[in-house]
Amino acid sequence: MNAPVIENLSRRGFLQGVGGLTLGFCISAPLGPAALARIAVAPATKGSPRGAPTFGFNAFLRIGSDDTVTVISKHLEMGQGTYTGLATILAEELDADWKAVRVEGAPADASRYNNLFWGPAQGTGGSTAIANSWGQLRAAGATARAMLVAAAAKRWQVPASEITVRDGVVMHAASRRRARFGELAEAAAQEKLLIDVALKKPSEFRLVGRHARRLDSADKVNGKAQFTQDVQLPGMLVAVVAHAPRFGAVLRGFDGAAAKRVKGVADVVQIPSGVAVLASDTWSAKKGRDALKLDWDEAKAFKLGTDEILAKYRELAKKPGLVAHASGDVDAAFAKAAKVIRAEFDFPYLAHAAMEPMNCVVRRTAEGCEVWNGEQLHTGDQYALAAVFGLKAEQVKINMLYAGGSFGRRANTRSDYVVEAANIVKAIDGRAPVKLVWLREDDMRGGYYRPLFHHALEAAIDAEGRLAGWRHRLVGQSILKGSPFEGMVKNGIDAVSVEGAANLPYAIPNMRVDLHSPDDIAVPVLWWRSVGSSHTAYSTEVFLDQAAKAMGKDPVALRLELLAKHPRHAAVLRLAAEKAGWDKPLAPGKPGTRRGRGVAVHESFHSYVAEVAEVTVAADGTLTVDRVVCAVDCGIAVNPDNVRSQVEGAVGFALSAALYGEIALKDGVVTAGNFDAYPILRINEMPKVEVHIVPSPADPTGIGEPPVPPLAPAVANAIGAATGRYPGRLPFRAEDLKV
């Protein structure tokens, strides 16, 4: 028996309860009989789009009598290509005809659809979708294939071992018999689920590792794809909410009379997070909201600006924090150092700013409530909604729709906008379904940002010119502290604050990483694509280049020297350097400009990425990123073209933040409300991106987040190479880049 085994791929886990739910951290999830039993729970039989009867094989697969193969995705499709990737895995082992494959979002039901890395919780995040599903969906496909074979063997009275399957057709060569999946589906679905099924060898893969087109492309180029924003229900009201002007402000009173006079407005209700105006359509609801008179009590509201927060953090950084990593004798290394270098780095709050602003549709039903959402944290949201209505979690039915981006925002530990939608429904006694629509300004000022961080680093270089000591202090809010996921905080250290820093791969004998997590800042924070690595990769990789400079070493050579025990880091670094022509001189730019090339390598979510950036810096500090060469090792690339697509997009996403990303507060008020003040990268600023994939036999790991962290440090190191100055704050500012 070739039992599929899912290795321990997650260093993350959710440990504490959400409303009584214990979220566990999976060390290892072998796909034994218990897990197979989980895939064996067949979903209710539903018609395929063409109305033909369909038959459930397990929780992840239905086959229709019209040959349609429906793969059930337990994960949210938010752009990362997971629907296509998950379907590819199952279809591979099933030997399905790819043209007959479609995907459907799973309902919220953690008993069948939990994330195997998150214990009993269903959700999408941490670049785990493909990684945690790999063994599970291979088993789902292989066992269903065996059922089809068994049904054919019975029908034809031939030995199952003589039967082959290819492209959705079951065949017996000797008797020249063949049957399409659809012809066998009804009988095959009745067959016993066999646990003892062999999986394919990688050399037998016909879909995995090849280019399968995205299954969602067609509907996303003709306007048919359904996002939460597009949901229309009979009698539905659209709600637009007036939120507090500052975090922590409390509504003292309001006058909704003028709002109620707006044509189309049906109701105005107070909810815990503000005042909701309900109307027949979005525009009327917005006009109603604009007509509200609101009286906010801001006595206890948060009133600091980002400059003051940063000043506090700089003060905190003078004192030791809680130790997140310690090895060797770091103080002795510094005492003996021939040379010590230091640097500080400031990172701003960042908004996710998904193109689809947050929204959610909720209605009360006889059974409980029903939700339509770009659902990223099913189980947490079920518990949160159940608490609003006094229901049991399983009475909350969630329809998972496409999300117009998320980047972490829809996986909210506090279920903020989902609960807001439910509170509006509750405030109108459930008399109508409600679509909560956040306008862009609500979304941008709504908090849950990537936390602002200050880092201070010191390196000790010994008399032999070696990197002997490394001190790294981080100051920034914990994402998990005070959230329902606080159990993941160990000894005061929030692992996601220091990931990428506390596990620095470089062979530096004496290291200490410590952390301050101030809890007196009321700005809500959340994971933002690549989480801790979105800042730790920058500070560590830029500082390493500064150290290389101080040591007179080449940045690639120094890294390779320090990565002797980390072959996967070293391999992507070598590949990126080779493809970028690291050893050849960079072509000069126009007169008056300086050009530079920089490198960074970083592992996050068990995938390894190196990027080499080429930049041009004009005399006035104007920066152009010309080319980015990327090398990635994410284990087996289930869909190499999607891996390339994710890397290209991640480069643009990360560059957006490096060039422009900053949520600033003034007296506690978020200054930016829309894309004029929070710019997003445009097509004319997109560098040429080249992606190279390291062939790997390892089980697949994530690709949504890992290409983000190396981009900004690679660009900063290129700026350093061009100008001699390494930007100590993000976003880059022309004044810091001027020569």
Binding site: S217, N222, D281, T282, W283, A403, Q646, A650
Partner: protein, 157 residues
């Protein structure tokens, strides 16, 4: 009552005249392919064609387009250029989350209708008003070139 000509059909709408075309299309006519992204003509997700010209529907009151001919993503395949663009988008798997792509496609179709062989600079000029948070820009550029190639071939044939 405002009368619009949407995707070739006259439509009567009972909305206040200041209602942006975006919300009239989405909420009243249920043409939800046109997306809301910013409400201030900053992102291009709401792009439609008014008499063939790409227009930000989120800041265009219905009263300003009464009687004019409006084309949305739902009907862009009625034209040869629209079909070529959609085909190129599918072939190159441009989309990620997909939310901005209706607007991107409307801009690309207008570009190719006016310029059958756009340069990279032409693409930058025509497309710089359309934000894509997933940053699918490299493939958008490639797909526009591919659609131009297809249209060029069709013409020769």
């Amino acid at each position: 009552m405002v009368t619009l000509k949407v995707n070739g059909k006259p439509r009567q709408l009972d909305v206040s005249p200041d209602t942006p075309l975006l919300w009239a299309l989405r909420d009243t006519l249920q043409l939800t392919g046109t997306k809301y992204g910013c409400g201030q003509a900053l992102c291009g997700a709401c792009n439609v064609h008014v008499d063939g010209v790409p227009t930000r529907s989120c800041v265009t009151p219905v009263s300003a387009v009464a009687g004019r001919s409006i084309t949305t993503i739902e009907a862009v395949d009625a034209g040869r250029v629209g079909r070529a663009v959609q085909e190129a988008w599918r072939e190159l798997d441009v989309v990620q989350c997909g939310y901005c792509q209706s607007g991107q496609i409307m801009s690309a179709v207008a570009l190719l209708a006016a310029n059958r062989k756009p340069s990279d600079a032409d693409i930058d000029n025509a497309m710089a008003g359309n934000l894509c948070r997933c940053a699918t820009y490299q493939r958008i550029r490639a797909a526009i070139h591919e659609a131009a190639r297809k249209l060029g071939k069709e013409k020769q044939a």
